[in-house]
């Protein structure tokens, strides 16, 4: 009856730096590339932190100093692999009982750069929260509002 197959989104991008540098940039400067409108705090996002160890917290800090959890570090294996839990529901709220996985691989390329691949796994778990899922379409600040930008930029 219910869909039990694992649902995953995969994306990849090539960058000119080697894995170690890419890994460091990704984990240390996340606020610099995170889309600003995808923040779960009340005030504008000031920082995004990935604590560099297994069990470390993944969170954002608003300009008001308030921290909002996103998830935690499941695997910390620089320079090649990073696994984080994504515990933000479809309505952009942290829920300690909700867990999906974001896996990152940094694979060296012959030209000295690297290929960054991202897999967001276990999306089927959003299905257990169908009611919350619809709120996202309904809110002005939700994903619906930025869909045009998504399709334009991410094609």
């Amino acid at each position: 009856m219910t869909e039990t197959t694992e649902m995953t989104v995969r994306r990849s991008v090539r960058v000119p730096c080697e894995p170690a540098k890419a890994f460091a940039l990704f984990t240390e400067r996340m606020a610099d590339f995170w889309p600003r409108d995808h923040s779960i705090g009340d005030s504008p996002q000031a920082a995004v932190v990935v604590e560099p160890h297994v069990g470390g917290r993944w969170y954002e800090r608003g300009e008001d100093g308030v921290e909002c959890r996103w998830g935690r570090v499941v695997e910390w294996a620089p320079p090649h692999r990073l696994v984080l839990t994504w515990q933000i529901t479809a309505e952009w709220r942290y829920d300690p009982d909700f867990e999906t996985l974001v896996e990152l691989h940094f694979t060296p390329e012959p030209d000295g750069g690297c290929l960054v691949t991202l897999a967001h796994r276990h999306l089927e778990r959003f299905g257990d929260r169908a009611d919350a899922m619809y709120e996202v379409f309904d809110s002005a600040g939700g994903w619906a509002g930025t869909m045009t930008a998504f399709t334009r930029v991410a094609g």
Partner: protein, 120 residues
């Protein structure tokens, strides 16, 4: 194949969103839905058809009644959003990596251009 546009159109109506909210709480036949809504039963049926086309609700037959419920296939719309979302995140990350690389290289040698992953 249900596109995000179809899903958004389906959700772009307050009555349909209300129907979805009811169904998310509890699967129901059309009569029960109509009793809880300020619109006629035929109108509810019409909205249900739009929601079904968008794969947001599905129906099954129980005895003589058709029961409607939230369709997990609607998850695909969510997946599409996340696909676009991570595409943007990685795209922006690649831009940052390009800038940093160019700055630290100190030369005019351009690095490889970032390419998008395959949008499956």
């Amino acid at each position: 194949m249900v596109t995000a546009d179809v899903v958004l159109d389906a959700l772009g109506d307050a009555s349909r969103r209300l129907i979805l909210e009811h169904l998310a709480e509890q699967e129901s036949p059309v009569g029960v839905l109509a009793a809880r809504m300020p619109i006629s039963r035929p109108a509810v049926s019409q909205h249900l058809r739009v929601l079904k086309d968008a794969r947001l609700v599905s129906e099954h037959v129980a005895g003589t009644r058709r029961i409607y419920r939230v369709d997990p296939a609607g998850l695909r719309a969510l997946r599409d959003y996340l696909d676009g979302f991570w595409g943007i995140v990685l795209h922006r990350f690649a831009d940052l990596a390009e800038e940093t690389h160019a700055a630290s290289a100190g030369r005019d040698e351009p690095g490889p251009h970032p390419t998008e992953g395959n949008p499956s």
